[in-house]
Amino acid sequence: MKNVPLEAGLILSGILFVLGLISVLTRRNIIFMLISVEIMLNAAGLAFIVAGARWAQADGQIMFIFILTMAAAEVSVGLALILQIYHQLKTLDSDAANKMRG
């Protein structure tokens, strides 16, 4: 396989990150926000893999496993909180949770 240039991987990672960011900002459904945050996390992980391949070390891969594990834990906690929000507010609209305003 021809070598994929380094910049392509990083650019892909950046695009994925920005896509994830935009969809967090524009979506109102909390679960979709969570999914978008997942995309951002994976994008960051891709950046780590590319960096590890550049330096020919396994540290990038190890970091990616950390990120994946953390993402899993975070999703479980996040889903528990979303369940609570749904229990209180009877909706999944994130704009409905606006009590903490000035």
Binding site: L21, V24, L25, T26, R28, M33, S94, D95, A97, N98, K99, M100, R101, G102
Partner: protein, 627 residues
């Protein structure tokens, strides 16, 4: 007993404290027991202390209670100083005070503020005792302010009536003007002499100032200003007639016997300053002379029983100031003591009359009370005789006669002071017996329901005895030459020296004075008992001056126009509080930015994330630009 000196002022304060804590829950018998009992104990202690003090023959007893202020070379303590001058004053304060407390026990019994009344009265007696026993001017000022406060509280005692509060504020504000003058005098004394201890001032002042130097004259005038405020003399005299809005025991204690004599005490105590400032001393006399005439004419036209007595008090204190002004220090104190007895008697009697006639104040609606209330009539008559200085048989004759004599024959006396005092004596006799004849003689216009109880009658009888017999301790040269009182005060107050050529004329002067007072009584008798039409004819002929005198020589109207109107005008102008606008503007700006920033806290999560994203963009851009 020297160690127990502090108890004399402390007992009334303790009584007040007990009543504050227990008063609302106590029975109607416990309240006067504590209230009058504390002052009674004080009186007893005064008697014992006085006897011991006089028998031991020391000139001075001092007792330091607390260390108050010790800063560099300023050493002021809470200490008491007993000499014969303060002994006379504490005797009068505690004894007359105790009799008035007994009277109030019955007089105020039906009032729902019964405990509150005794608390204020006890606080007053305690403050007044501190005033006269203080050994430094700052402690005296403490007592001075305390009596002013209690006077305010007691004048406005029946606070539900608006005019009582108005009278109380008027009294407090007018005396405050005098208090400020006194405070400035204290400041000046401290900066020039370095001490406020009265005895140290007495020794240092002649060393530092020559007679008549401008600084000491200024201090003398400022002290006079303070005394004028508290003692209701010209120009600060118009609060006293309005202060009659308070209950009669208050008028008797505060506005006849004690607080209004605080000015007399101040001037007598600081006699060293006044001897160094002859101009100030002359003005003490001038103010006294003018005030006694003004108040006498006003008293002649009043028809409210207590207002007659109020103007009479102003006039009699004018006599005391006149005596101080010519250097007759012990004569002034003698007149103070006798005046305290008969004036308290008159006010208590007036209070009893008013109460028994269901709060009727107008003497022209009274009448014929002679038969219905005999004890009150006879004691009132004895008090009035003393006030009018009926010759030989009353205490008032001896004290006023001394002042008359010294105003002419003292080394600072002159014919004008004498004439003023003489005319004043004539007018005093007239208005006093006008009051007696209209109130007690003639036909009964308001019905009397019942007589007073023994708690009211006993103080009246005791004071009547004192008004008559207390005068005999000081008889003039021509009538027996007893000098017990001036001998008592001799270590404290200097003797007055007489102009030599007049000493032989003393008997003639006494005859003239006696004749005038009897003449005044006769004119009052003729006008109000024999020939009432004569009175109304005179009144209609001198209508304009009559109304002028009735309104207190127009002082209320004068102060209203000159002081109160401009003040109210300026306050209305600044109702929007112009200077505050600046601060309000600052507040408005702060509020505006607050609203702007608060609106960014919308509580919507996406909003916050957008803010984070924008912030990150800004940081990244700036860092790229920097590189």
């Amino acid at each position: 007993m020297k160690e127990l000196l502090w108890l004399i002022p402390a007992l009334p304060f303790a009584g007040a404290l007990m009543l504050i804590m227990l008063g609302s829950r106590s029975s109607k018998n416990l309240v006067p027991f504590i209230g009058a009992g504390s002052v009674g104990l004080s009186a007893l202690l005064t008697l014992i202390t006085g006897i011991q003090f006089l028998s031991v023959g020391d000139n001075v007893w001092t007792q330091q209670v607390w260390n108050w202020i010790t800063v560099m070379n300023l050493n002021l303590n809470f200490s008491f100083y007993l000499d014969t001058l303060s002994l006379v004053f504490i005797f009068v304060i505690t004894f007359v005070g105790f009799l008035i407390h007994l009277y109030s026990a019955e007089f105020m019994r039906e009032d729902e503020g019964y405990a509150r009344f005794f608390i204020f009265l006890n606080l007053f007696v305690g403050s007044m005792l501190i005033l006269v026993l203080a050994d430094n001017l700052l402690l005296m000022y403490f007592g001075w302010e305390g009596v002013g406060l209690c006077s305010y509280l007691l004048i406005g005692f029946w606070y539900n009536e608006e005019k009582n509060g108005y009278a109380a504020r008027k009294a407090f504000i007018m005396t405050r003007v005098g208090d400020t003058a006194l405070a400035v005098a204290l400041f000046m004394l401290f900066t020039t002499l370095g001490t406020l201890n009265i005895q140290e001032i007495a020794t240092k002042a002649p060393e530092v100032w020559a007679v008549g130097s401008s600084v000491v004259v200024l201090i003398g005038f400022l002290l006079l200003g303070g005394a004028v405020g508290k003692s209701a003399q010209l120009p600060l005299q118009s609060w006293l007639p309005d202060a009659m809005a308070g209950p009669s025991p208050v008028s008797a204690l505060i506005h006849a016997a004690t607080m209004v004599t605080a000015g007399v005490y101040l001037i007598a105590r600081m006699h060293v300053i006044f001897e160094l400032a002859p101009l100030a001393q002359t003005w003490v006399g001038i103010i006294g002379a003018i005030t006694l005439l003004i108040a006498g004419f006003s008293a002649l036209t009043q028809h409210d029983l207590k207002r007659i007595l109020a103007y009479s008090t102003i006039s009699q204190i004018g006599y005391m100031f006149l005596a101080l002004g010519v250097g007759a220090w012990s004569a002034a104190i003698f007149h103070f003591m006798i005046h305290a007895f008969f004036k308290a008697l008159l006010f208590l009697g007036a209070g009893a009359v008013i109460m028994l006639l269901h709060h009727e104040h107008n003497i022209f609606r009274m009448g014929g009370l002679r038969k219905k209330m005999p004890v009150i009539f006879w004691t009132f008559l004895i008090g009035s005789a003393s006030l009018a200085a009926l010759p030989l048989i009353t205490g008032g004759f001896y004290s006023k006669d001394q002042i008359l004599w010294f105003s002419l024959a003292g080394e600072k006396g002159n014919i004008w002071f004498f004439l003023a005092a003489l005319i004043g004596a004539f007018i005093t006799a007239m208005y006093t017996f006008r009051m007696v004849f209209v109130t007690f003689f003639g036909e009964e216009k308001t019905h009397v329901s019942h007589d007073a109880g023994w708690l009211i009658k006993t103080p009246l009888i005791v004071l009547a005895i004192l008004s008559t017999f207390a005068g005999f301790i000081e008889l003039p040269h021509t009538l027996g030459h007893v000098e017990l009182f001036s001998g008592l005060l001799q270590p404290v107050l200097p003797d007055i020296s007489l102009q030599a050529e007049l000493t032989s004329k003393e008997f003639i002067i006494q005859l003239i004075a006696a004749g005038l007072s009897i003449g005044g009584v006769y004119i009052a008798y003729y006008t109000y008992v024999n020939n009432p039409a004569f009175a109304s004819r005179i009144k209609s002929e001198i209508n304009v001056p009559y109304n002028f005198w009735h309104a207190g020589w127009g002082f209320d109207a004068l102060y209203n126009a000159v002081i109160m109107r401009p003040f109210v005008f300026i306050s209305t102008l600044s109702k929007g509080d112009v200077i505050d606008r600046l601060y309000e503007g600052l507040v408005a700006i702060a509020n505006f930015f607050n609203r702007v920033f608060a609106s960014t806290q919308s509580g919507i999560m996406r909003w916050y994330m957008m803010a984070i994203v924008i912030g990150t963009l800004l940081v990244v851009t700036l860092s790229l630009l920097m590189l």
